[in-house]
Symmetry: C2
C-alpha cells in the first residue's frame, strides 16, 4: 500500500473544488490567467445563495437600507477624489538584469526568476529604487486612446454609493440614519495574487455604507450620547447613538450574519485596528477575521469613516452632499447658549481639521468650517459613515474550508476509505435536497421519486439522481454538500401499509435517517434551507 | 393654464426613472460618463428579479442546464480564437482638422463638432481613410504595461462557457444535449452609446449555450431527424431532434419566458435573419425584437452556431473539446454500409469546410476532417451549439417602457391631473406589496399594519408606508409599480365584527379593491408574485 500522499489541506480543497465543479481556474485550457477564478455549477449556486442572503438581510428585511447597482467603470474624477489615483499603490522594484518587477516588501521572499535558488534581494541583479505602482486596472473609454479618456475598473464598490448618495436619498424616502447596499465586482491588479481565491485580481464585494448623523447633531437632539459599554449586541438602534454605538452595532450584526450561514464565532476573530494602522480618515476599524488553513485572515472590515467620503466628493465635484434635518434645527434652538457653543466648537474643529488635511489653506479651512458649523445650527450636516465591507470570494472560500470534512469508513473486510463531506449550512448549500429512488429499474419507484422531485424543485434547488447504489449516491451528495437526501423505497409505495407515502430523509452530517410523510416534506425542508 | 409640455415618451420615461430611483446616470455629480447607467433602489430590485427568474427558469427548473460564473477578464487568447481581436470592430474616420473620430457609417448623420450646422461628411475637414476600431476595452494585467500583458474586458459572456465546457461536462453529470447558463457583465466600447440604457458601454447579459449532437449523430442513433414543420412550440425535447428543431424549441421557450414576465407576444417580433445577414459560422439566427418607443429593436438573439465555437477553441488551445458517446458508437455499428457512408461523407464535408474557412491548407483540412469523421463512427464528435443570448438592460428598458402608463384623473371641480402607473408583471415588480395603515395617528391601526408587514416581508419585497393620504400613498405605489396594496382600516380591527382581521387589497392596474382575510393574504400573494 502506498504511503498516504502528503498534500496539505489547501491542496486537497483546491482539488475538490475543481473535481466537483465549485471553482475552476479561469481560461484553464489556455494555461490559465493568474489571479482569476471561475465558479462552476456548484460554486455558482453557493455564491448566489450567499449574495442573496446578504442582500435580503441588508435590504429587504430592513426598513433603513436601500439597494443600488452601479457600473464598474465610472468617471475617473471619482478615483481622484477618493484618493485611489494618488495613493492606491504598492512600492515596486524593477530588476534591470532579469526585467522582472517585484513588490519592494516581498523581495526577500520571492525567488529570482533566473536563479530560483536565490531570493530577489540576493540574486545580484541590478535593481531600481522602489516606485509606486497603482493597483487600479486602467483602460480607455471612447474611440481615442488618449490621456483624456483614461478610466479605471473600480477597485471597490463603495465609491459609487457615495457618488449616488443624493439620488438615492431623494428617491427612496429614507432619512439619516440609513444605508445604501451594493453587491458587485471590483478589480485590483495585485502584484502577487495568492491563496487560491483569497487574493485575486477580479473579485466581488458586498458593501454597505450606513449614513449617520454627526455626534454633535445627535447630542443636540437627544441631550447626550448613549454610553458604549457593555459587551455584545447593543440591540435595536436608538436615536441617541453616536458613531461608536453604530459601529459596535454593525460589528455585531455582521458577526450574526456569519453565524447565520454556518461560521460559528469560534471560527472568527475580531481585530480592532490599532491607531497607527488606521487609514487617515478612519476613526475605528474592526476586521472580522476567519481562521483559514493558510492563516487567520480578513473576511470583512467595518470602518467608521467619519464624514470623509461625502466631504471629498462635495469638494471635488462642487455638488452639495449634505442633508437638512428639520428636527435638528428645532432641537438646536432649544439648547442653552453654552451647549450650542460647545457643539458648534466641536463640529467646527472637526471640519477644520478635515479641510486642512484635504489641502485647503488654514484661512480657507477655517472659513469653510465656520460655514459648516453655522449650517449645523440650521439643521445641515454632511453625514458620517459606518462601512461594513465584505469580500464575497473570500467568504465563499471560508465557507468551503469550514465545510470540508474528511471521514474514513471501514468496511467488513477492514478496508478503509477516506471521503469528503462538505458540511455547508443548509441556507448556503448549493443543492438543498436530492431525491433518490431506491432502484432505477422499478418504474413505480422512479415515478414516485419524480413526483416528489417535482413537488420540491419549484421551491429550492433540488437534484434528482437514480444512478448507482444508494450508498454511492449519498456519498456524491455529501461531497456536493447537500444537507438532505430523500429516498423513495418500497415502503413509500405501501409495502408496509402504515408507511405509505412516507420517505426516508437522510441527514448529511451524521448519516442519521428519519421517516417523514411526503405531505410534510416541503414545509420541513423550507424551515431549514431558508 | 400652460400648454401640456411636448416632451416625447422616452424623455418622460428617463425622467420617471430618475425621479423614482429606477435608473440614474453613472457618476452624475461629475457630469456623468457617456454610455454608463446605474440602477437605483427600485431599478436594482427590478433587475435582480429579472435575472433571478431567468436563472431559475434556465437552471434550477431544468434537468439539462448547469450554471457557471466566470470572470470578466480572461486569457487574451480566447478573444483571438473567437475572432474578436481581429474582427470585432467598427470602421472609423479621423478628422485631421478637428481631431474628432467618427464611425464611417455615421458621418452623414453626426454634426461636425466645430461647425455643428454641417454634418461631418460635408464640413470640409480633411479626413483619413476608414480604419477598424476594436470595440473591446483593453487593459493590462500584472505590473508591466507591455504588449505581453494586454487583456480585455469580455465583450460577451458566451466565450467563458465554451472555454469551460469540458470542466462543466466532467463535474456536472450532464450529457449532450445539455446547456450551460451564465449571467454577467460585458463591455463594448461603443462609439455612439444611445437610446438611454439600450446601447451602453457596460451592460449585462444572460446567455445560454445549449450543446447538441451534430445531425449526423442524431440520424445514426434514431434513423431520421424529426421534421420541422408545424408552427408554435414543439413540446418536450426528443432524441430525434436535429439542430433546426432545437433552434425552434429555444425560440419558443424564450418567447414564453418574455410572456411570463409581462411582455405579450404582440409587443414582440420574431425576425429570422436573412442568409446574407448571418455571421459566417451561423446556420440560422432569430432575433426577438421588442417595440421600443424609439423603434423595434433586438432583445435577444437565438443563434444556431454549428460546432464553430468549440472547434475554434480546440484548434487554438490544442485541448480536445469533443465528447465521446457510447450509445452513438453502438448505433453506428448497426447501420447499413450505405447509411454509414452517407453520414460519414456529410460530417466529413462539414468539418472540411469549417477547417478550410478557419485557414487550414486544403490537405490539412481534408486530413483532419477525415480523422473527425472516423471519430464520429467511434462515437466522438464536437457538439454543436444553440445560443439564446439576451441583454438584461434592454429587457429592463423594455419592461419599463411597456409598464409605463399615463392616466388622467379628473376631480369634482373638473381639475384633471395626469399621473403614471407602472404596470409591471407582479413577478418582476420591484415591490410586491405595500402595507398601509389607513391613518398613522391611530396606534391600533399602525400596530396591526406592522404585524401584517412582518408577516409578509420575509417572503417577498414588501414596503410599509404611513405618510400622507391613502390616495396619495396608492399613487406613489402605482408609480413604483407595486401590484398590490394592503390597507388596514377600522374594519380590520373589528368595527364591523364580521370584518375582523380582514384587509382591503387594492389592485394597481384598475384600482379594484377586494376584501381578504389576513390568514389568506400570504398564499394569495405568493401565488401571484412568484
Amino acid at each position: 500500500m502506498a504511503e498516504p500522499k502528503k498534500t496539505d489541506l489547501m491542496e486537497k480543497i483546491v482539488s475538490l473544488c475543481k473535481r466537483r465543479g465549485f471553482i475552476f481556474q479561469s481560461s484553464e485550457i489556455y494555461g490559465g490567467i493568474n489571479g482569476f477564478w471561475d465558479y462552476g455549477p456548484l460554486g455558482a449556486e453557493l455564491k448566489r445563495n450567499v449574495k442573496d442572503l446578504w442582500w435580503t438581510t441588508m435590504t429587504r428585511l430592513r426598513d433603513d437600507v436601500a439597494g443600488l447597482e452601479a457600473t464598474i467603470i465610472m468617471a475617473p474624477q471619482i478615483w481622484k477624489a477618493s484618493g485611489h489615483v494618488d495613493t492606491f499603490s504598492d512600492p515596486m522594484i524593477d530588476c534591470k538584469t532579469c526585467k522582472g518587477r517585484f513588490r519592494a516588501d516581498q523581495i526577500n521572499e520571492i525567488p529570482c526568476p533566473q536563479r530560483p535558488s536565490k531570493m530577489v534581494n540576493e540574486c545580484g541583479g541590478e535593481k531600481t529604487e522602489a516606485r509606486p505602482f497603482n493597483l487600479m486596472f486602467k483602460t480607455h473609454c471612447g474611440p481615442l486612446e488618449s490621456d483624456d479618456n483614461v478610466c479605471y475598473l473600480r477597485p471597490e464598490t463603495a465609491q459609487a454609493i457615495f457618488v449616488q448618495f443624493k439620488n438615492v436619498l431623494e428617491t427612496s424616502r429614507q432619512k439619516v440614519p440609513f444605508g445604501i447596499a451594493q453587491v458587485g465586482k471590483a478589480f485590483r491588479n495585485e502584484v502577487t495574487p495568492r491563496n487560491f481565491t483569497f487574493r485575486s485580481r477580479e473579485f466581488e464585494q458586498m458593501e454597505l455604507e450606513f449614513f449617520i448623523k454627526p455626534d454633535e447633531a445627535v447630542e443636540a437632539q437627544t441631550g447626550s450620547l448613549a454610553a458604549v459599554g457593555a459587551e455584545g449586541h447593543p440591540g435595536e438602534p436608538q436615536p441617541n447613538w453616536g458613531w461608536q454605538m453604530w459601529h459596535k452595532y454593525w460589528v455585531e450584526e455582521r458577526i450574526r450574519f456569519y453565524e447565520g450561514i454556518g461560521l460559528p464565532r469560534t471560527s472568527l476573530e475580531e481585530y480592532w485596528q490599532k491607531p497607527e494602522e488606521l487609514a487617515h480618515y478612519a476613526r475605528a476599524t474592526v476586521d472580522i477575521l476567519f481562521k483559514f488553513p493558510f492563516g487567520t485572515q480578513e473576511l470583512e472590515g467595518i470602518a467608521a469613516r467619519s464624514d470623509y467620503d461625502l466631504s471629498q466628493h462635495e469638494r471635488c465635484s462642487g455638488k452639495p452632499m449634505g442633508v437638512f434635518d428639520e428636527d435638528l434645527r428645532g432641537a438646536w434652538g432649544k439648547l442653552s447658549k453654552e451647549k450650542q457653543d460647545e457643539l458648534w466648537e466641536r463640529y467646527f474643529e472637526a471640519r477644520r481639521k478635515y479641510l486642512e488635511k484635504a489641502g485647503e489653506t488654514p484661512e480657507k479651512a477655517a472659513a469653510t468650517a465656520r460655514a459648516n458649523a453655522d449650517g449645523l445650527a440650521k439643521g445641515q450636516y454632511i453625514p458620517h459613515v459606518i462601512e461594513p465591507s465584505a469580500g464575497v470570494d473570500r467568504l465563499i472560500l471560508g465557507l468551503i474550508t469550514h465545510a470540508y470534512t474528511e471521514v474514513t469508513d471501514t468496511d467488513d473486510k477492514g478496508k478503509s476509505e477516506t471521503r469528503v463531506i462538505m458540511k455547508f449550512h443548509p441556507r448556503v448549500a448549493p443543492i438543498k435536497v436530492a431525491v433518490l429512488p431506491l432502484l432505477k429499474n422499478k418504474p413505480e419507484l422512479v415515478k414516485k421519486a419524480q413526483e416528489v422531485f417535482a413537488l420540491l424543485r419549484g421551491h429550492m434547488n433540488a437534484f434528482y439522481d437514480e444512478t448507482g447504489s444508494i450508498g454511492r449516491r449519498y456519498a456524491r451528495q455529501d461531497e456536493a454538500g447537500t444537507p438532505f437526501c430523500v429516498t423513495i423505497d418500497f415502503d413509500t409505495l405501501g409495502e408496509k401499509p402504515e408507511m405509505l407515502d412516507t420517505v426516508t430523509l437522510r441527514h448529511r452530517d451524521d448519516g442519521r435517517q428519519e421517516r417523514l410523510r411526503i405531505g410534510e416534506l416541503l414545509p420541513w425542508l423550507l424551515a431549514r434551507v431558508r
